[in-house]
């Protein structure tokens, strides 16, 4: 129970829904006649409308980035450590917008929404979505909110890919790009982990060929397994060692009954998997991992990232974490290298952190200070 909020919390927030009746042409060729985006805002837009910040979520994220939906909500939004009054993304200074991406399962149009043609849920017939489509739909949301240019667009992991796409697709609408623990494109190893996760879902009988919503079934086991695989790759070996080690949750090594032995890490992973499968839609998960796999910033620019970045006008902050092996520092250095060659204004830090890829969500002191210092330096109009 969070009865009284700390001064650094945005407090109670209420999601809003934006309906777009104008059609959206997707990269895959499909045209969405209309769509909806659910979003939250924190702080207030100033008179010149130049203090807006867009938060782009990662694979399993959503629009609820900060604050609480009710006094009974146990946990605040997923990036509450960073968003709030006096926090690095300071809501006393900035007007923060956080949305659930198209294809998501937390209120924006996606596989769980009704297909207007069939009047049934889209399910796996929902069109394939690319990072570029997300950015285009986010630009529509910016139009709706009368935000001509973002003071900053910020995202980690898959969110960072959206940030880079913003810098290229709408160079005059973004002034600072904060790309955290991300990559120009996924490596084969990275795609492989996504494919294992997808196969776990696809082979679950409850998946019913993607039509589980109509069939009243659910690929709970498959989705939980997908999350377990993902989760392991978001942590570092050291982080798992210090968090769980070889601690037992039940059973004992002494009685030689290996059947009764359950390691803490097993129990933790199963719990995470179960929790996730109760909150997330399997078709959305497949869609999001596909968007990750297919992202390749340079593809439209003769496979040349330098050429891709040459049109950008914003400043860049690139951050990576030492123990992140899913989006390793060398992936971030590729981004930095391309930005330098494209003569862009870039700052890069490699943060010492034990937490692996998950570090981008956590309040690690040097990372926290970096975000604060960078965000504090962003110039906005002082009128309110």
């Amino acid at each position: 129970m969070a009865e009284i909020f700390e001064a650094s919390s945005v407090g109670i927030v209420e999601p809003q829904l934006a309906k777009f009746e104008e059609s959206l042409a997707l990269e895959c060729g499909h045209i969405l006649d209309s769509f909806e985006l659910v979003y939250e805002t924190y702080g207030s837009l100033n008179k010149n409308r130049d203090n807006a910040v867009l938060i782009c979520h990662a694979l399993s994220g959503n629009h609820h980035a900060a604050g609480f939906h009710s006094h009974d909500e146990e946990r605040p939004g997923w990036w509450d450590e960073y968003i709030g009054p006096g926090k690095p993304i300071n809501t006393k200074k900035f007007f923060v917008v956080s949305l659930n991406n198209l294809g998501g399962c937390h209120g924006s149009t996606g596989p769980c929404s009704e297909n207007p043609v069939t009047s049934k849920p889209w399910g796996n017939n929902f069109p394939s979505i690319r990072v570029k489509d997300w950015v285009q739909s986010q630009a529509r949301l910016a139009d709706r909110l009368n935000i001509n240019s973002w003071a900053a667009v910020i995202g980690g992991s898959l969110g960072g890919m959206q940030v880079m796409q913003w810098a290229i697709d709408y160079p005059s609408r973004i002034r600072n790009a904060l790309v955290i623990a991300s990559a120009l494109k996924l490596s084969a190893q990275n795609i492989a982990f996504n494919e294992i996760a997808r196969q776990a879902i696809l082979t679950d009988p409850g998946f019913a060929g993607g039509d589980y919503l109509n069939m009243k079934s659910a690929p709970e086991t498959g989705l939980a397994l997908a999350r377990m695989i993902g989760h392991v790759t978001y942590l570092s070996d050291d982080a798992m060692a210090s968090k769980f080690g070889r601690e037992l949750r039940s059973g004992s090594f002494d009685d030689n009954l290996s059947d009764t032995i359950e390691f803490q890490v097993e129990s933790y992973l199963r719990y995470q998997g179960r929790r996730f499968s109760g909150q997330f839609d399997a078709n959305s998960y497949i869609l999001m991992t596909r968007a990750l796999d297919l992202f390749d910033l340079a593809r439209d620019y003769n496979d040349n990232a330098v050429e891709a970045f040459s049109a950008a006008k914003c400043k860049f902050l690139i951050v990576s974490f030492t123990t992140d092996w899913r989006f390793s520092p060398s992936r971030s250095r590729e981004i930095v290298e391309a930005l330098i060659a494209a003569k862009q204004n870039v700052t890069y830090l490699e943060i010492q952190a034990d937490e692996g890829h998950d570090a981008f969500l956590l309040p690690i002191p040097k990372y926290f200070q970096t975000m604060s210092a960078y965000m504090d330096g962003i110039e906005i109009s002082l009128n309110s």
Partner: protein, 196 residues
């Protein structure tokens, strides 16, 4: 503002691209930006320094100069500066060549170990010189490659590096006069403007 930096400022034209190796907290690039509207990039390894540079709005790449500068393409900068940092790198000669590959010109400043005080200290104390400017003991110093004015010029000659101009800082006016005659004895800090 450090005297060597004032000298470097006068050598850099406005509107040019400057790479500062070992930029520290970005003080120099910040002055340079204010005075001559240059486009500056710093390289630094110390994160606390980088954070202070971010606070000044300076763009800094966290990178270890000792691990190479291959991520910077040929002649992608007008000037590459290394102020009071050449003595801390593992391979000063290689870094010097890299500076002149990346930049049209390079500017290097370093403390002159040939200064008469250093010589006297070593001669009479019989120990590695420790001073206000070089406060470290031999075993914990980041300065692993001290050189004298003569040493540096010999290295430049051996690598066919052109010395376009140089300037010696010596403290008082009289010392400066002496340093102009005998730089290796009287210069505290040597400043060189180099080209490949």
């Amino acid at each position: 503002m450090r005297q060597d930096l004032t000298q470097i400022l006068s050598w850099i034209k406005s509107g040019t691209r400057v790479l500062d190796l070992g930029c520290g907290d970005g003080e120099f690039l910040n002055e340079l930006k204010k005075k001559s509207a240059i486009e500056g990039v710093g390289i630094e390894i110390n994160q606390d320094d980088i954070l202070r540079a971010i606070g000044k709005g300076i763009s800094v790449i966290q990178q270890d100069v000792d691990e190479g500068l291959s991520n910077f393409s040929n002649l992608s900068f007008d000037t590459v500066v290394m102020a009071h940092a050449i003595q801390v790198v593992h391979f000063p000669d290689k870094v010097l060549m890299e500076m002149l590959r990346i930049g049209k010109e390079g500017i290097v400043t370093f403390p002159n170990f040939g200064h008469w005080r250093c010589r006297l200290y070593l001669a009479f104390q019989g120990r590695m010189p420790v001073s206000r400017f070089l406060p470290y003991d031999w075993y914990n110093t980041p300065n692993i490659h001290f050189c004298t004015v003569k040493d540096f010029e010999k290295l430049c000659a051996s690598r066919d590096i052109t010395i376009k101009s140089k300037s010696m800082i010596a403290g008082s006016k009289f010392s400066s006069f002496l340093a102009s005659l005998w730089p290796n004895l009287f210069a505290l800090t040597a400043i060189y403007r180099l080209a490949a």
